[in-house]
């Protein structure tokens, strides 16, 4: 009984998932301003890269990490890429998802059709990652152009950014279902920003006191940054398997919890 229910909950119709994505494509097409906003999204990490990576990098000079010497910009760029993958996915699955869930009542209308909560969750997540991937591809192009990684590094890093998008997107979606109102987004934004500042993005985590370092190593962006930096710089160790496993767990757990919450909220 239990297993059939679980199977029913997790069964997917690609057509219906596609229809959920189709809605977002339609929304994108009908609003010209939405387009500009979407496309302009990749500027943010790029500007950070130019300001902190190149601007502050000129003050820093070269950096020695685990015995490898690299320019500060080459150190920061992969982190900005990971951040870009994270925030691209989060933008869609937190703010937009919450708005559709709570205010537009989009999903109430959708759930009156054959579409299931799990299909909504998967559709929204796939859409978020597709959207985020536009940013990461452009960003990788810039990194190659600026000599901050190789073409091979960029090709290796791209699937990693997809995984990062899936992981943050899934968890973000679950978190959105727990939000009480807009004020909670301030907390989410703060958490996101704190991770952005301390996940080995701007300086190596070894510099922090041991306790802080361990705490950071428990957070998701740290694993995302480590994974992408390994692949972009070509300094790959067995540690990336831990990073990958960590992120994969987030994808599965986040999706599972998110669809359960949607069902609890809307199917009572």
């Amino acid at each position: 009984m239990m297993t059939t229910l679980v199977a029913a909950r997790l069964s997917l119709s690609p057509g219906r998932v596609g229809a959920v994505i189709n809605r977002n494509v339609g929304a994108l097409r009908s609003g010209p301003s939405y387009w500009i906003v979407l496309i302009s999204g990749f500027f943010e990490p790029l500007l950070y890269l130019l300001s902190i990576g190149v601007g502050v990098g000129a003050l820093v000079g070269d950096l020695s990490v685990d015995g490898h010497t690299m320019s500060y910009a080459a150190f920061v760029a992969p982190a900005m890429l990971a951040v870009s993958a994270m925030s691209g996915a989060l933008a869609e699955t937190t703010f937009n998802f919450f708005f559709k869930l709570k205010y537009m009542k989009t999903y109430e209308a959708v759930l009156a059709t054959p579409v299931r909560p799990f299909e909504i969750a998967v559709g929204e997540l796939v859409w978020a990652v597709v959207r985020g991937s536009v940013y990461t591809v452009i960003f990788l192009g810039f990194m190659v152009a600026l000599g901050l990684t190789t073409v091979a590094g960029a090709i290796a890093a791209f699937p990693a950014t997809v995984l990062i998008g899936l992981a943050f997107g899934a968890v973000g979606m679950w978190v959105s279902t727990l939000m009480r109102g807009w004020q909670d987004f301030d907390l989410l934004g703060t958490g996101q920003f704190a991770m952005f500042l301390f996940s080995g993005t701007f300086s190596p985590v070894h510099d922090y006191p041991v306790g802080v370092e361990i705490l950071i190593q428990l957070t998701p962006l740290y694993h995302a940054v480590e994974l992408v930096r390994s692949l972009c710089t070509g300094i790959v160790g067995p540690g990336i398997l831990v990073n990958i496993a960590y992120l994969a767990v987030l994808v599965v757990g986040g999706l599972w919890l998110a669809s359960r919450r949607v069902e609890k909220m809307l199917c009572v």
């Binding site: 229809a19 809605r23 537009m104 209308a109 009156a112």
Partner: protein, 311 residues
């Protein structure tokens, strides 16, 4: 019987914690029927509709929709339902037409077919000229008509309408009624909830009156009025009414079939209203105003529950 019914319920119950929203109701809705739930806010109409729409699990009792089990076959049932919710949940990010085409995709309707249907339905709800416009600037009545069109996009066997005209101005209501009446004429099975008796009288072949989660009466609007009211009702208002209506009611005792004192007026139920008024004057009473009218479902509800429908 159960095999032909589009909706079949026995002892259907919905509880939210300690609160019982629907308290053991039986239903049979036949194909082609226009069936209504009449009752005040909180009577359990919307909870019943959500169970029928397979987005809410029954707490207890038997429920079969289109001959299937809503818990197990929810997806298959919903594929054949059209739902028009109480509050419009149209998609403001999409154009009027895209609202229909996008929705059709959820049912697996092909893109080309979705476009054709969208255009037909926009024509049907008289919104063709707004097809490429945004949803936001539409009036309340237009939005409701668009929501009804959206509910038709999968060519459903059964259309559920939760309070289809609540919040609309009189003109917009009549336009919506007229469209729903056309649907009915085409043979579409309609199930609707309402707390307006005029709406129930206009649209429903058969209805149940709900109160406190229970069905308190069932029948056609005509038969309900015949069974639970008189042909005519006299409304009497007294200048010093308000506090003394109960005393007036005592003095009116015996006229017609029943006397009902309300805070602002006294109702006299009689098959011949004019005769009842004559008797009132013979008893030497001088009401400030007298109105003789036909009986409505409002009177039925008042009789059944002792309360007015719209408060």
């Amino acid at each position: 019987m159960a095999d032909q019914s589009l909706i079949f319920a026995r002892g259907l119950v919905k509880r939210f914690g300690d609160f019982t929203a629907v308290d053991g109701i039986d239903l049979d809705v036949a194909p082609g029927e226009a069936f209504g739930f009449l009752g005040p806010n909180g009577a359990g109409k919307s909870s019943t509709m959500r169970m029928i729409g397979c987005v809410s699990r029954p707490t207890a009792g038997q429920l079969r929709i289109l001959g299937m089990d809503p818990v197990r076959d929810g997806t298959r049932i919903r594929a054949r339902l059209g739902v028009c919710p109480q509050l419009d949940n149209l998609d403001p990010d999409l154009s009027v037409r895209e609202n229909l085409t996008t929705y059709a995709r959820y049912f697996g309707v092909s893109r080309a077919e979705a476009r054709t249907r969208a255009d037909e339905l926009l024509e049907f709800v008289q919104l063709s000229d707004r097809a490429n416009g945004k949803v936001e600037p539409l009036s309340g009545g237009m939005k409701r008509r668009l929501t009804i069109a959206r509910a038709m996009v999968n060519d459903p066997d059964l259309v559920l309408l939760d309070e289809p005209t609540t919040g609309l101005d009189p003109q917009a209501r009549h336009l919506v009624w007229e469209r729903l009446f056309r649907l009915k004429q085409r043979g579409t099975t309609l199930v609707l909830t309402t707390h307006y008796m005029d709406e129930a009288e206009q649209l429903c072949d058969r209805l149940v009156v709900m109160d406190g989660g229970k069905i308190v009466a069932e029948g056609s609007p005509r038969s309900l009025i015949q069974n639970y009211s008189t042909a005519e009702v006299v409304e009497l208002r007294f200048a010093d009414g308000l506090d003394s209506n109960a005393q007036y009611a005592a003095k009116l005792d015996g006229i017609g079939e029943r006397v009902d004192p309300l805070p602002d007026r006294v109702l006299l139920y009689a098959d011949d209203g004019d005769e009842a008024v004559a008797e009132v004057h013979r008893r030497g009473l001088t009401p400030a105003s007298v109105l003789v009218r036909r009986s409505t479902l409002e009177d039925v509800f008042l009789h059944l529950t002792g309360r007015t429908l719209v408060d």
